[in-house]
């Protein structure tokens, strides 16, 4: 393999990893507080992509309005999902929550199927994201460069909120002990809603960038990226934001480089991710950055 192709693949891996990371953060944040794997999280990619499509095609909004609008709306749908599917089950056993999450996922997918239909829609890709530039003799899509940069911006904003603000402190406290957080006079339900808002918005941003990269939008487009991001979150150590990012990059780079070095394994790309999940669960269930299991039950 020539150096050019290697760098091309590397940049592809980084941008794919960024997308996994953005989506994985939402899984990990919700898990951190509710100990719930929100299986409907991946479907928010689809929700955001369709919202963006309709904002552009039906209301003819420019992309720089329609994308933020889609992110905001998807964030609100995240809150709604919590209110409808999870909040009534706060005191129920965790398995009920998990089943409710799977239900929410099927509901979103099939609702989209009924309302919009199963035929893939093309995602309106603005000119500025479609350009191809040459860096040091390597031809890359500008999108491949924008994605990691945007991811970095979102990540910085998120880390600022979680580690430097009052609500962030309350989030970290709630991830340790919800009851005692209530005893601080904190409305934990509001903190949970905020967590869903932030996680879902990041998933929406990831979804829109995903659709820019692979501009075919259908009701099930969120399933595989969602599962991959879940693997990334587990790989990094579920509950840990930095871990989710690290896991996202490891998985994204791993997948792309695997295919680059062993083109004959290209069809096994998804299998590779799931084998990785099984291995992590078997040998290091707390992931790369994970806290010890004994810490909280």
């Amino acid at each position: 393999m020539s150096a050019t192709i290697f760098f091309q693949q590397l940049s592809n891996g980084i941008s794919l990893g960024s997308l996994y990371a953005l989506v994985a953060i939402g899984y990990t944040m919700v898990y951190g507080i509710l100990r719930l794997i929100n299986f409907a999280h991946g479907d928010l990619l689809m929700v955001a992509s369709y919202t963006a499509i309709y904002a552009v095609t039906m209301f003819s909004l420019p992309w720089y309005l329609s994308f933020p609008l889609a992110i905001a709306l998807t964030g609100c749908i995240g809150i709604l999902m919590d209110k409808v599917a999870y909040k009534p089950l706060r005191d129920a056993p965790r398995i009920s929550l998990l089943i409710s999450a799977i239900g929410a996922s099927f509901l979103l997918e099939n609702l989209a199927l009924v309302i919009i239909g199963g035929i893939p829609k093309g995602f309106p890709r603005p000119e500025i994201f479609a350009k191809v530039i040459e860096i040091l003799g390597v031809r890359v899509q500008v999108l491949t460069i924008y994605i990691p940069i945007m991811t970095l911006v979102f990540l910085m904003a998120l880390l600022y909120i979680v580690y430097r603000t009052k609500v962030g402190k309350a989030m970290r406290a709630a991830s340790k002990d919800i009851e005692t957080t209530r005893l601080m006079g904190i409305n934990v339900d509001r903190i949970i809603a905020l967590t869903f808002l932030m996680g879902s918005s990041l998933a929406a941003a990831g979804g829109i960038m995903w659709a820019l990269k692979y501009p075919q939008v259908n009701p099930f487009m969120g399933v595989i990226p969602g599962l991959k991001a879940f693997i990334a979150a587990v790989l990094g150590g579920i509950g840990d934001i930095i871990g989710a990012v690290v896991g996202g990059f490891v998985l994204g780079l791993g997948e792309i480089l695997l295919v680059a070095f062993f083109p004959e394994l290209a069809q096994y790309r998804d299998a590779f991710a799931f084998v990785l999940l099984i291995l992590v669960l078997l040998f290091r269930p707390t992931g790369i950055m994970g806290e010890p299991i004994t810490d909280k039950t």
Binding site: A173, K176, D177, G185, I186
Partner: protein
């Protein structure tokens, strides 16, 4: 200041509190003593809104608390140091204290912090440390300090002496009298009846969900039954 009337609490089919009546007057230290499982913690948890009573009322300064959610109860001016300390081990000492002051106006924070540090100088030394790395005694001080950061009118302390060395227990009880003298009303749940009765103005003895005895701290210290059952004589 706080009046609990005919409080009944059930855990599933278990009748944990069978009609508790108690009063806490402003400026007092009131203690609730009794054996394991007598319902002491359940009483505190009902006041804090963590447990929903089936029957009865809890009135704090004219406000009925049983209808409120926990964070609203706390916002009425009640601080809680829960059983088992429950400090946020993943946050620093300072962050723990900041959470205690969650609903306080930011301009009051520095004054409150200095007050808490004057009560617990050790916390100031360790303010940048993760709370999980503190010793048991220090964690208890942090739990007390965190409860005081909201500048509460009433603090609920659940077994602050549990699992601490005798010297540290003494320190904790000294601090309880200090904050009381500075104007905070205290409702103290304790298994360490001796220490609790010594600092308390008024005391209730709880047995299997019922109050069986009450009186001033001094009276109960002299009471034959209390001496037999709780002071090991």
């Amino acid at each position: 200041m706080l009046e609990v009337k005919n409080l009944h609490v059930y855990y599933g089919g278990i009748h944990a509190l069978k009609g508790i009546d108690l009063r806490v007057k402003e400026g007092q230290i009131v203690t609730l003593i009794g054996a394991n499982g007598a319902g002491k913690s359940t009483t505190l948890r009902s006041i804090a809104g963590l447990v929903r009573p089936k029957e009865g009322s809890i009135v704090f300064q004219g406000t009925e608390l049983t209808a409120l959610r926990t964070h609203q109860v706390i916002q009425q001016g009640i601080g809680v140091a829960p059983e088992g300390r429950k400090v946020f081990g993943n946050l620093t000492v300072l962050e723990n204290l900041e959470l205690g002051a969650y609903n306080r106006p930011p301009q009051e924070f520095q004054t409150d912090l200095e007050w808490v540090f004057s009560l617990f100088p050790r916390l100031e030394e360790r303010s940048k440390q993760l709370a999980g790395t503190l010793s048991g005694g220090e964690q208890q001080m942090l739990a007390l300090g965190r409860a005081l950061m909201s500048h509460p009118k009433l603090v609920l302390l659940d077994e602050p002496s549990l699992g601490l060395a005798p010297l540290v227990v003494e320190e904790v009880f000294e601090t309880i009298t200090t904050i009381n003298r500075q104007g905070t009303t205290v409702l103290l749940v304790e298994q360490n009846a001796m220490a609790a009765l010594h600092v308390a103005h008024y005391a209730y003895v709880l047995e299997t969900g019922r109050i069986t005895l009450e009186g001033t701290g001094k009276e109960l210290l002299q009471d034959e039954r209390v001496r037999k059952a709780y002071l090991g004589e």
